[in-house]
């Protein structure tokens, strides 16, 4: 299936290669570079490239291209999903998935890749199993290793691979037994010029951090499970139980993981927590334009809207912007033409406003399109859909765990057309 993997940074250096079958020459990447040049923007590099003898399937994550070489028919998503899993694993191991991190830990990276694929077919991709096989580097461990000469490779053989629950390792022990759930909801929306909602829906995830000893069997129930329209599960969740009782029943993996992700049906009315008033215009036959944007909160159940950031991709003809912000600070990058306004918290008494002049290239025709505004925000302690966790029960172990649930609402792909 997956023949080889090349990691390429933004400037086109191949800084890591791994082959699971016969060696494929680096020159195969030339086809990739060609496509990259053609695409101009990194985002537009086609994920699948056909070359005379191979197929290249690539993903772009954290400024690194993961380019895999395929020789025969394979579902492209299979490869793409796997590459993302590799990137996730690096993230998990090194805290970041960057070129420096990979270069610094090249041996661990190699060991990981060796375990994750056998002959191009995924072998062990569960983080819990991998961590039993190869211990993630920590400062303490590297100090200990350098003194005692012990290694990062686990000398106990991984048992998780053999069990029915490969996501959990055996013999987990904690002094403080804790289980935390973060219900994170994101609002995806398109607001049109007049302020009416073209499209809005809520996407949510429940991220968990579970540190429980032994083999706990948890069940998590909601006050209003019917809200969830479409759900995807971590493999640990018993599907039948959800189908029949709408209860999440599972033996959790150890540590951080994503329990479910869900979508609240778009049929439901989504409460949009902010509104934007905007006035952007470019004058004909003069090299300037006006820019005036105000952001305000709608009724949000008494919660404040925080960390508001607005980013705008201005038209190419814009040279510079002279603006004044009543709150927060703004930056305009004349190269990428991106305007960023970091607003912060919105207080309803004094609405934040950004206003001023736009300098256009003289002589160029006026831009036809007004740019769309991308808004980010956060609301603490609120799940905008109204989803509420009812209770968490634990079976199989005697101790009393500490339980916690946190709600948060964020803007997802939130765009205002002007």
């Amino acid at each position: 299936m997956i023949h080889s993997l090349f990691l390429i940074n933004c400037s086109g250096d191949i800084f890591l290669e791994k082959h699971w079958k016969s060696v494929v020459s680096q020159s195969v990447c030339d086809y990739f570079f060609e496509a990259q040049e053609k695409a101009i923007d990194v985002e537009n590099v086609p994920p699948v490239i056909s070359t005379p003898h191979h197929y290249l399937i690539s993903i772009y994550r954290d400024k690194i291209f993961f380019v895999s070489v395929i020789q025969s028919e394979v579902p492209p998503l299979f490869v793409i999903e796997f590459l993302h899993r590799v990137a996730d694993t690096f993230q998990d191991y090194f805290g970041e998935c960057s070129e420096t991190a990979i270069k610094d830990n090249v041996v661990i990276v190699y060991e990981l890749l060796e375990e994750m694929l056998d002959n191009g077919f995924p072998l062990a991709t569960e983080s819990n199993i991998l961590k039993e096989l190869i211990k993630p580097p920590t400062i303490l461990r590297s100090v200990v290793n350098s003194i005692t000469g012990s290694s990062n490779v686990g000398d106990t053989l991984p048992t998780g691979q053999l069990s029915n629950i490969p996501w959990r390792r055996a013999g987990v022990k904690y002094t403080n037994n804790e289980a935390y759930f973060d219900v994170v909801e994101e609002i995806d929306a398109i607001i049109d010029k007049s302020g009416s909602t073209v499209f809005a829906e809520i996407q949510g995830v429940i991220d968990s951090c579970i540190k429980l000893s032994g083999m706990p069997d948890l069940s998590l129930s909601f006050m209003n499970p019917r809200l969830l329209d479409d759900v995807s599960f971590h493999p640990c969740i018993r599907f039948k139980r959800w189908e029949s009782e709408r209860v999440l029943s599972f033996i959790p993996p150890d540590g951080n993981f994503r329990l479910i992700s869900y979508r609240v049906s778009s049929q439901n009315l989504v409460a949009i927590p902010v509104y934007v008033k905007h006035m952007i215009s470019f004058k004909e036959n003069s090299s300037s334009g006006r820019f005036d944007v105000t952001i305000g909160p709608k009724q949000n159940m008494g919660k404040t809207v925080e960390s508001v950031v607005m980013t705008v991709h201005m038209p190419k003809a814009v040279l510079n912007m002279n603006l004044t912000a009543t709150q927060g600070s703004y930056t305009f990058d004349p190269v990428t033409k991106v305007l960023t306004w970091d607003v912060g918290k919105i207080t309803p008494q004094k609405l934040p406003n950004l206003k001023g002049l736009v300098n256009l290239q003289s002589g160029a025709p006026k831009p036809e399109e007004n740019p769309s505004l991308n808004i980010q925000f956060k609301i603490q302690q609120l799940a905008i859909s109204g989803l509420k966790v009812n209770r968490l029960d634990m079976y199989g172990e005697k101790y009393k765990p500490f339980k916690g649930v946190k709600y948060i609402t964020k803007a997802g792909k939130f765009q205002v057309r002007t």
């Binding site: 060696v23 537009n44 793409i80 029915n164 025709p365």
Partner: protein, 988 residues
Amino acid sequence: MAQDKCHLITQVGQPQVSHCATPLPVQESLALGKHLGKALPAVSPSPAAGRVHDDLKEMLDSNKDSLKLEAMKRIVAMIARGKNASDLFPAVVKNVACKNIEVKKLVYVYLVRYAEEQQDLALLSISTFQRGLKDPNQLIRASALRVLSSIRVPIIVPIMMLAIKEAASDMSPYVRKTAAHAIPKLYSLDSDQKDQLIEVIEKLLADKTTLVAGSVVMAFEEVCPERIDLIHKNYRKLCNLLIDVEEWGQVVIINMLTRYARTQFLSPNQNESLLEESAEKAFYGSEEEDTKEPKAEAASLAKRKPYVMDPDHRLLLRNTKPLLQSRNAAVVMAVAQLYFHLAPKAEVGVIAKALVRLLRSHRSVQYVVLQNVATMSIKRRGMFEPYLKSFYIRSTDPTQIKILKLEVLTNLANETNISTILREFQTYIRSMDKDFVAATIQAIGRCATNIGKVRDTCLNGLVQLLSNRDELVVAESVVVIKKLLQMQPAQHSEIIKHMAKLTDNIQVPMARASILWLIGEYCEHVPKIAPDVLRKMAKSFTNEEDIVKLQVINLAAKLYLTNSKQSKLLTQYVLNLAKYDQNYDIRDRARFIRQLIVPTEKSGALNKYAKKLFLAQKPAPILESSFKDRDHFQLGSLSHLLNAKAVGYQELPDWPDEAPDPSVRNVEVRGAPQGAGCMGGQGGSVSEESGSSSSSSSSSGSEEEEEEEEEGSGEQSEDKEEEEKRPKRKDKEGSRKAAMGSAGRYPLGKRGSSVNPFSLNPAVTPPPPQPIPSSSIISTSLVTDLEGLTLTDTSLTPAVSVPHALPGMSRDPCPSWGLQVGGSASHTPAPRPRQLLSPAFGAVRTYELLHRMAGEGLSVEYCFSRRPFPGDPHMVAVHIQISNNTDAEVKSLRVSEPKLLSGMRIQEFPEIGTRLAPGDTANVVMGIDFCDSTQAANFQLCTHTRHFYVSIQPPVGELMAPVFMSENEFKKEQGEWGTGTGGSQPRR
């Protein structure tokens, strides 16, 4: 590592940084990267590198593990950067038996990378792995096999083969999984091993653990995807295990099962009229309802139409559906394509929701999913309509995603939603991304052609775009307008005039060419303008692009034909210019057109038809999606994405016209009457079940349905049970289902049935279909033949093994045996004199032909007397015993109206003229030629008052006659019959 870098840098020519002791700062390496990459191959054998390696060699030779480890780490770092470290091979390979696990692992990494290049030296390490294969620890056995099989050295193929075979029957499922992984490796190394590997695959396919399932199907797909017959017996098991298999395995299994189902089941959508009905239902009924009771719906549909979904087909659909909720996009996509290709139209809708969910994922996932959605949305538009807004485009989407979303939106457009979609499109047209704008204009054109209602609106909108400042937008609009106008040119002479004006400004060649073509084509609508345009174009002819020049010639020719008075000279001028053009196409065209349109003495008959040729009615172009008909590729595959056949792509077969025998999937389950542990049972309880079912199973559709429902309800009740031991429970369920399947639905008397009396251990696969030189394996045809025997004859249930399948005969002391088909001569090649043995009698079993109750007091039994039937050697003698249990006498017993399959003959017994007094019995013998088949012979048994319908079905064993044959004779015979198609086989 640092040192390596330094040397490279020196090579590249930056000595000033060569003293750095720590890894290079990022920027520097970035700047150098490209050069480094190119310089690498040349650098590796350099003396400098050699020196570095000396130092590594020393470290590897030392006694300290820490030094070795350090050296190995540096070597691996070199490999990772693509540098050649092959000259260290001897030093590294020595450490293969090192005690330190990390060193060992890194040595493995090195070995796998370079063994191919240093085959001889690599052999040194083999013995270590061979030792590892015998280790008591399963993980060590597995890892030894893994590395051994990864070394691509052809010499060790036999060793690998042996190791794989052994590992395939290892106790540990993990080792078996590794064996499955090793199969494709060996196959790629030496494809001659295919036959042996298929054996191993067959064995592993029968494995019941989830760990092995994914890997072995992967091996199956790589080695022998064409051997779909290997799947039959494992089909239900795979379906039931699926949910517990790891996610990557799920993808592979689902894709394989899609292909399998296409060969084995009938199309659920074959009945078109009903289809529409059900599609409507999906449209009006809510999704939830639909998904909850697909079974009930299927059942209700089944009542109305002849098509009945095979329960196995349903099983697959039911068991894959939960996987739509997987977190793995590849699994979701696999299920989606399975539903798209296999599910009844009404049920396909369930996948839309899951696919839309994937659109929230990474860009590359979006890209692939949208490609597939685009294809699906052409075939099944209704499916995605509720999610129309999810395909709306954001200005931050990358262009390739935008264009795909646009494609989907266009496909989804219909009369009801077109106004919404067009309003969206209006927003898009003002985008900064010009490629996207061009695509939007094309999309508008497509909407306009597809939906007549909005054609004028679209056209007006596009005409407005003609005054757009961006030339690309204008050009694209012109091209699209041209296509639209072609549909109804008469009404739009205004637009054509407007476009004629554009020729002054617009520079994009394609657009100019389009305008010229339009004017030429409809020159009669704009008689005043056309010659003027030609005049202008003649002026600028030499500066035009080729594509425009061709259209100028075209325009000139058309004008010459319609309006020669005004344009004769112009045409001559243009043709003269073209005659001396640099491009040969244009010169050619000019010459050709001149001959065609200008009448000369020489020009032939064609001249008369020139007008017809040029101004013929041309059909309007059909604007259709580039994704049309892409669904002949399996969705979700690489080939579908590329719209070209990728290497190793397995064609998705068309549905068969007639369903292949469904009984091939029946599996024997032994010692597990109600799923109480399916391993290790040796008893033959299944024959009881099948025996009892044989009386009733005429394998009708309604019966299958009942069973289906039964299965479903059973499952539901089980759902409420504790879920603690999930996988184990599933296993049980699976085996129980399988048991029910074989019990409930076994169609009696069909050849190629599958209850296999020979496998004592259910984990052991049925014998492979080819003859194998080992004498302990029985040819399939015999196996299948003999299977019939066990089914109808409970007393013959094999308590032991092969020889007992034919009681009596095996006790004969003959050194070698042959069974010869005795029923008819059709299989017997030449009438060779052969010594027929006297039949030996075990307990001859009698069968009931007519029960006392059914026969109103008359009971009839029959047995096969195993004697040649006098008068006809092809006939089987059937001994019939009739007893009268009534109070009255029975008269004139006879056979009448035999209903036989073609070729079958029956020799009726003479009518029993005498009366049969109450309590009396009569014995008669009749002969039936079954024609070597196990089909039943149906006839009526008549008395003076009543008729009874009866049938006699022969067990295969009764159709054979014992023949003496020496071993040599047998082999000869076998050779003549090819690969075991005959009915004879040696014993012991």
